[in-house]
Symmetry: C2
Subunit: 294 residues, 2 copies
């Protein structure tokens, strides 16, 4: 199977699982479930769930509950996008080529839909079949830490907001992005590995992969915001410069940013060596992340 076929197949698998795990649009109160599903099924790339499932496969053929962990990650990612797009934060009207959640449903429902996606992520992990209590707790701890304020996603968002008023240094840039996008990408790989029963050495190697891939992802995100049109991205381009965000192109320039992304991709791939052929998909995904155009 080619990489693109594999990705498409995994995306469909994730969508089917989310469809099953998220309350239906007919479930009262309907409006909140419609809003959650509007953002959840908006054509997201499913990078975090795919990383989770591919990391599980690198360790073992069986990883009970990995599909639930994958969906929980996507719920947390989607909640963060909904809240990030709000007028008080990034104030974005466009996401994945469609009106953002608050543009479609109003701010009140968008805030609550984000809250609900965060909540349901932990609920689905607690109700995950096939895993024992200790493993579920470990997954919940991974996800809550990665989403939290200390080195996690919220901490990164806050540092990013504050960064708009600070000197754009390499140190600040790395700290922001390691938390803002890096922590959840790292957790994606780790949660898949945990579902598959990874030993410590395997978990360390995959964590290393996850950290490099996380940095590569963010560098490319920053580059695309400069180089691509809003139409190509499906979201407003050029916002980083407009909001005086600290980005890789601002700190290092475009050419050096391209080089760094490639270097992070190679470092991520080196971490996969112990897994051999089992990690083929992770190896390929690293390339996909760096070469993507949206």
């Amino acid at each position: 199977m080619t990489l693109l076929d594999y990705v498409a197949e995994q995306q469909q698998f994730i969508d089917r699982t989310l469809e099953r795990l998220i309350p239906g649009e007919q479930q009262p109160p309907e409006i909140i479930h419609r809003a959650m599903r509007y953002s959840l099924f908006a054509g997201g790339k499913r990078i975090r769930p795919i990383l989770c499932l591919a990391a599980a496969s690198a360790v073992s053929d069986t990883a009970p509950g990995a599909e639930v962990a994958a969906c929980a990650l996507e719920c947390v990612h989607t909640y963060s996008l909904i809240h990030d797009d709000l007028p008080a934060l990034d104030n974005d009207d466009l996401r994945r080529g469609r009106p953002t959640c608050h543009k479609q449903f109003g701010e009140a429902i968008a805030i609550l839909a984000g809250d609900a996606l965060l909540t349901v992520a932990f609920q689905m992990l607690s109700e995950m079949p096939g895993a024992d209590g200790d493993r579920k707790v470990r997954l919940i701890r991974e996800l809550s830490t990665a989403a939290g304020t200390v080195g996690g996603m919220i901490g990164g968002q806050v540092a990013d907001l504050e960064g708009e008023r600070q000197e754009p240094t390499a140190e600040l840039l790395e700290r922001i992005h390691r938390a803002k996008t890096g922590a959840l990408l790292r957790a994606s790989v780790r949660m898949g590995a945990i579902c598959a029963g990874a030993n410590e050495a395997q978990l360390d190697a995959l964590t290393c992969y996850g950290e490099h891939i996380g940095l590569a992802f963010q560098i490319v995100d920053d580059i695309l915001d400069v180089e691509q049109s809003s139409e190509a991205l499906g979201k407003t381009a050029g916002k980083d410069a407009q909001q005086h965000k600290i980005t890789f192109p601002v700190v290092y320039g475009l050419e050096e940013s391209h080089r760094m992304a490639k270097e992070e991709c190679e470092a991520a791939r080196r971490a996969l060596e112990p897994f051999g052929e089992r990690a083929r998909r992770l190896w390929e995904i690293a390339g996909l992340i760096v070469e993507r155009t949206k």
Copy 2:
């Protein structure tokens, strides 16, 4: 010890535990931890944590981790207040006699502080000492379900928002409040009982207590909004009528609402009979909830 001394002692115990579990104000990014703590240590009554601890005591002298469950409940409650007060929702400037979180820190930080309190609630349960994995998972499931969209807190908030445009019927009123405040109060009692290792019969009886006390709490809340001044409440009074909320005084009138609150209190107390003297504090708290003036 008198009831008021007991309550004061429990409040101090909760505050000390929260102090330990929530990142300090010096922990970067400082602003988010300051905002979380601003709302968390704003003189809340700690009703949910106290119910949790008192329910645990009704079952057993030892309830490992009950203080963590109690704090997780308070974090979820506080997050819901922060988001509820936002301009897009209830648009409140005053809470517990002080400026609301977004008035003090701005909307962006208030949204993220709410998100962070919700996240850290699950993190602290996953890191709770003294309980095995299965028990932690059960607590996480209780809390996430009670906070969620299907019969839980967010579902109630959405129904409440939508109710502003609907016919105020007794059925709609009960559905809203059973979810909006009832679910978390019910979970408070249940989580304490679970920490104490309650059997099914004990859990059922305490759930029954929790449901009646939850309804009593909301009826009194609605009454106070009509009868008290903003100064006495420490939050804006008269907002329900102003926002055309469906409340108990609107549907039943004030006199009947008072009678119903008393009736719910008595029903709650009857559910405690199997516990005898062990449930004395729960019995007393039921009275406190109905007789409170703010």
